[in-house]
Symmetry: C2
């Protein structure tokens, strides 16, 4: 057994992430993490100075992976069309494609999980939760501003409302996927968002 601290830490984060989505942070014990990761108390507290420290690390990891997904898929979308509206629709379509038909891993948003147990956390963690989607807001806000400049919406809506619509459908779609135990539920709602955007910016005939 080689001694690779980074691998152990990664393993802890991986299993803890799943456990938080199943039991909630408050309902998950450190001992559960130890068992699932196949390690002992010593190893855990060598890598994390407290359970709260684990919570922060999990959140930071999640936000980072999430932002990476955003940038990757937006870059793909931008290379597939020159029109901002099409880029936005392709971006949402790529997210839809990714989430369709996948039941593994069981879905869940760490930020939503934390939001429903916010009082367990310290002020800094709360702040991190609240600003977890900042990058999405920035990138999609800019993209939608470009859309609005080029196309007039058929109803009076703001870019912020549309971004929030995507975000809400994402969070709600995840909950539906868990409720129905059917990964497609999220993809379906991303599809509805695409429908809405299409209808909203469709030219009148």
């Amino acid at each position: 057994m080689p001694r690779d601290g980074a691998a152990t830490k990664a393993k802890i984060l991986e299993v803890a992430h799943e456990l938080v989505l199943e039991y909630g942070f408050g309902g998950m014990s450190v001992d559960q993490v130890l068992t699932a990761a196949g390690i002992t108390k010593g190893a855990f507290f060598h890598h994390f100075k407290s359970k709260i420290d684990l919570a922060n690390a999990l959140l930071a990891r999640y936000v980072q992976m999430d932002d990476q997904l955003l940038h990757e898929q937006m870059a793909r979308a931008e290379s597939l069309s020159r029109d901002p509206l099409q880029q936005y629709l392709i971006f949402v379509g790529l997210l839809e494609e990714m989430s369709r038909g996948q039941s593994e891993p069981p879905p869940g948003c760490l930020i939503a999980s934390y939001i429903y147990q916010l009082e367990l956390f310290s002020a800094e963690t709360k702040t991190a939760v609240i600003s977890g989607f900042k990058e999405w807001e920035r990138v999609l806000g800019e993209k939608l501003a470009a859309v609005f400049e080029k196309y007039p919406p058929r109803l009076p809506v703001s870019a912020k409302q549309i971004y929030d619509n995507l975000l809400a459908l994402f969070e709600g779609g995840v909950i539906l996927a868990k409720l129905y135990d059917k990964g497609d539920a999220l993809a379906e709602q991303l599809g509805q968002h695409k429908n809405y955007i299409e209808l909203l910016f469709q030219e009148r005939d």
Copy 2:
């Protein structure tokens, strides 16, 4: 001090409901409930045989209140128009009206909270969580079926997808309201759903 067991039980349910939305069920201790309700262990375990029993009672209470809201507002909507599409839009509008500008009590859906800690619960509780929206699905499914019979949608969507869209926007909107600490976020997304429905069933000119 009069002896009113029902009042004590109601008080426990009320404060426990709030605590669950703030700490999560697993992160909330019975002692916290005792303090918040101003009672003692004896009183609590007189009314609930276990903490899990409280979880079930909270869920049953929530679903019942939720169903009542559904029936009340749908009855209002049905008395305000004869057209199924208008009834549906009015219904959503009434929900929007109710949620706008209210920051008290802090928002939250007990079903969403439970879904994010599902493994804490027994099989029966899980079943109750999953079927928590059954009545909404039935009532809105019927209403939307009537809409589809009368109006052709401009895009190929199903009644189930539309009902899920409302549900997802509700759950997502609640999460946004918590994230932004702004009660209007939910109302705004219900407004977007109305927009979507309007555009979807609008006659071509």
